[in-house]
């Protein structure tokens, strides 16, 4: 013990302290950056959008007729159901520059909804209504992928979103 006491000089104590302070500052700084970019960029996560009876999905007004609806100029709503192993609708067409709101639920097991490079990434749970939205500016064809394991043919479960040139 005596030797240990000698060994611990003030320098060591300062080293400990000198590391503790930036160890607090770094995560705090990151959190601030995160808050600013998340809220400044208007990123929004799915929250509590209500429940749906998974046995009677079609009885819910949102999912009576899965499809694409233009709710305002340049604003589209996709009412989507996921089931093994398909999406309904599985092909969505919108003009470039549209904002697309996805409302989704599952009729059976847990599925996922992923549109790469467009911040559409949400879990689709039976009993829950998921929401995600993104703007599609560049014309092209983008996959809609189920990214949660949902059984033996999970890898076949996909759709597509076709962003068309805006007609002048």
């Amino acid at each position: 013990m005596e030797r240990g006491v000698e060994r611990r000089s003030t320098t060591i104590y300062l080293w400990e302290l000198a590391w503790i302070l930036p160890s607090i500052a770094i995560p705090v700084g990151m959190l601030v950056a995160l808050g600013v970019t998340a809220f400044g960029a208007g990123i929004h996560l799915t929250g509590d959008q209500g429940r749906v009876d998974p046995q009677h999905v079609a009885a819910h007004p949102l999912f009576k007729e899965p499809g694409v609806v233009e709710i305002a100029p340049g604003q589209y709503e996709v009412r989507l159901t996921a089931q093994i192993w398909s999406f309904a609708p599985n092909e969505i067409r919108v003009p470039a520059g549209s904002t697309v709101h996805f409302w989704a639920t599952s009729k059976d097991v847990i599925h996922g909804l992923l549109v790469p490079k467009h911040n559409i990434n949400v879990m689709v749970l039976p009993g829950q209504i998921a929401h995600a939205q993104a703007r599609f500016d560049t014309p092209g064809e983008y996959p809609i992928i189920c990214h949660e394991y949902c059984g033996i043919a999970h890898h076949t479960m996909a759709g597509k979103i076709i962003v068309e040139e805006r007609k002048r």
Partner: protein, 542 residues
Amino acid sequence: MTRSEERLAAAYVFVALVALFGGVTTGLFQALEYAGVDIYPKLDPVIRSHYHSLTYHGVLNVLVWTTFFICGLLPFLAARSFGRPLANIRLAWGTFWLMVTGLIAAAIPLAANAATVMFTFYPPLKAHWAFYLGLTLVVAGTWLVTLNLALTWRGWRAENPQGRTPLAAFMSLVTFAMWSIASVGLAAEMLFLVIPWSLGLTAGADPLLARTLFWFSGHPIVYFWLLPAYISWETLVPRQAGGRLFSDPLARTSFILFLVLSTPLGFHHQYTDPGIHQGWKLVHAFLTFAVFFPSLLTFFTVVASLESGARARGGKGWITWFGKLPWGDPSVAAQVLAMILFAGGGIGGLINASFNMNLVVHNTAYIVGHLHLTVGTAVTLTFMGITYWLVPYLAGRALWSRSLALAQVWLWFGGMVIFSPTLHELGLRGMPRRTAIGHVAYLQSDWKALLPLVGVGGVLLFISAMLYFVNLVLTATVGRGPAPAMLAFAEATSGPEYAPAFLDRWRPWIALAVALIVVAYAPTLLRLATMTSFAVPGMRVW
């Protein structure tokens, strides 16, 4: 330390290694499938599908290999550290057999393709009840390990009313205390939701409630895997490297913070789940960044300790001392390489935990790349490094080949350097995880060039693992030379006498941990539990 305790550690490590063998072998099949080499038809009926293989891979690696290794190693180290035997060796053996029974119960439906539900087993995918019951027995076993450690501590404390708990024992106790609190979520999911439902006693499950309880335990389980690696890095590796632990009080403080902060942050796995308010997701994001603080303390303590060893061996300079570490010792080389890749795992973890950036990476191959740096390298390569001294010690024979061990360690590192960044990049390009990529209906052109690298990395990792097993088997059977002595724990530059006494008190810290969990989880769990209709029937769709 009795012979029986050494045999107990050997028994746990043996089961862990068998699991790892199955885990890496199935991993090879998946990596090959990604690269366009589909060998599943040849494996039928042992392996029925990519998803059957993948469930094996996850369950064997992250549930069995880790848990059994930790339940073997930590009581062994704690008893050494206390300088006294475990409080109840019969309880310890009973615990081992309970866990083995659970493992066998879960393994039978898993082998029969009746539990192809991944290691996350989200309802309404419905496995055979024995799978859930078996895993629950394994978790119950970990609680009995906690009990035995706590009783051992009490016996030690009665004889040492003033002293600081020896560091390795303290860290082992914290690890098991943390896990015992955190695993309550998993136990509740099993006992109240999944087991009655799989037995047909209830009509339906609630998928969101089940996921929430799962991730209550599912993030802290990562710390249950990592903290034992930190124990090795802080109490053993400094001495193996010829140096001292930099600071005992910093090590203790970081572990107490892991005890308090590991659990109330599981929603960062559920950012994209509907049915959980954004505000609570944000609270969990904050708490996830809070746990970065003890991680940074650990990082500094570990690197400063390594540096003391390298400088004692003649290392100079700001960075170049790194080359003076005992790179010829496979145990040290494995663990230092594990630390290096873990830096990438830690940074990637912060990205996953970020409220906004998670939208890019959630459920993509990026997560797979991340997990292979954390549990697949920081934990697994460290545990491999530990076995390079532990197995010879327990077997009473010298390591069969030191150079083969070094080659194995570097091969793992090299394989992972190819494998993991490739998966990260594929994830950023939108490739989903847990998917038979070789058969997808939507293969993207910008994935194609990278997929063969997944196969190359996977093959290198598999070869490394096989070299590892060959070396261990030969060590245990035909190893020549005298058995190595048990490693001694590292002394500290800033020793335990500087650790404040309140770090040795259990009740306030456990109370604080529970209080934070209640704040972070109670409102959401109560809402979900009272609103659910348990209306989702189970399905077997594989």
